[in-house]
């Protein structure tokens, strides 16, 4: 399933989708950036409540397909613009991380 398809199915708010056709292969949840960097798989969806600029570097370097900011956490215009610039798919949901992951699991099955 592509990032754009998943965003539509789960009604995720698209903040920046520079690569909407990227395929999602699995998911990873976490907020400790170094931990995520070491463990999140290439092409997976990353669910987090972190919303600082370093999120973009982690998303780029771990090569995740999309970053989901959960719990409706605030996303600054700077983060949004930088995501577009750096080619990072960035979406948001009001769902808590667990519930987002359950929903993702159902649609990826």
């Amino acid at each position: 399933m592509t990032v754009a398809q998943l965003a539509e199915r789960l009604h995720l708010e698209c903040l920046a989708l520079p690569a909407p056709d990227r395929e999602i292969d699995g998911a990873y949840a976490g907020d400790l950036l170094s931990w995520v960097m070491g463990r999140a798989g290439t092409d997976c969806l990353w669910a987090t409540i972190m919303n600082n600029m370093n999120v973009l570097a982690v998303a780029t370097l771990a090569d995740v397909s999309v970053t989901v900011i959960c719990e409706g956490c605030e996303v600054s215009d700077d983060l949004r613009n930088a995501a577009m610039e750096k080619g990072v798919n960035l979406v948001r949901t009001e769902l808590p991380i667990y519930e987002l992951c359950v929903a993702v699991s159902e649609v990826l099955r």
């Binding site: 400790l32 170094s34 960097m37 070491g38 600029m53 570097a57």
Partner: protein
């Protein structure tokens, strides 16, 4: 054997939000050299962790990446406070990062272990009060 391709980056110690720029640039360089994706990922992760460490602890430094025929070597050098107990610093979960950094999602004590895990060799030379030099290699 041909000469290695060498890339040098200055890591700005005052700007935490731009930390990682050198690693992202290096990742692009390696892509252009058609290096295998899993190798690129390992180099990028190891270099990023090192970059973050230099920003958090050492006020920045330099990163030099050399691409040889058979390996990629990453050398990180700073003039920071040095690491008093390298063995302790290598332990997962051990961190001396301040609270402000932890609130940003760093300082989990995963940096050095991640660097070791993603590389084929890693040596730390550090002198308290002088600085730290970390040399990592990833075999091609």
């Amino acid at each position: 054997m041909s000469e290695p391709l060498v890339y040098t980056f200055l890591v700005d110690g005052d700007n935490f939000t731009s930390a990682g720029e050198a690693s992202v640039k290096m990742k692009k360089n390696l892509r252009m050299l058609a290096i295998a994706p899993d190798i690129i990922r390992r180099v990028a992760i190891a270099m990023y962790e090192g970059e973050i460490n230099m920003v958090i602890h050492a006020g920045g430094g330099t990163a030099t990446v050399s691409v040889h025929n058979d390996k990629i070597e990453i050398v990180l050098e700073d003039k920071g406070p040095g690491i008093a107990d390298v063995e302790l610093a290598m332990r997962e979960g051990f961190s001396t990062a301040p609270e402000t950094i932890r609130n940003l999602g760093f300082g989990a004590g995963m940096g050095l272990p991640n660097m070791k895990r993603n590389t084929d060799s890693m040596t730390i030379e550090s002198t308290v009060g002088v600085g730290t030099r970390i040399t990592m290699t990833v075999n091609l």
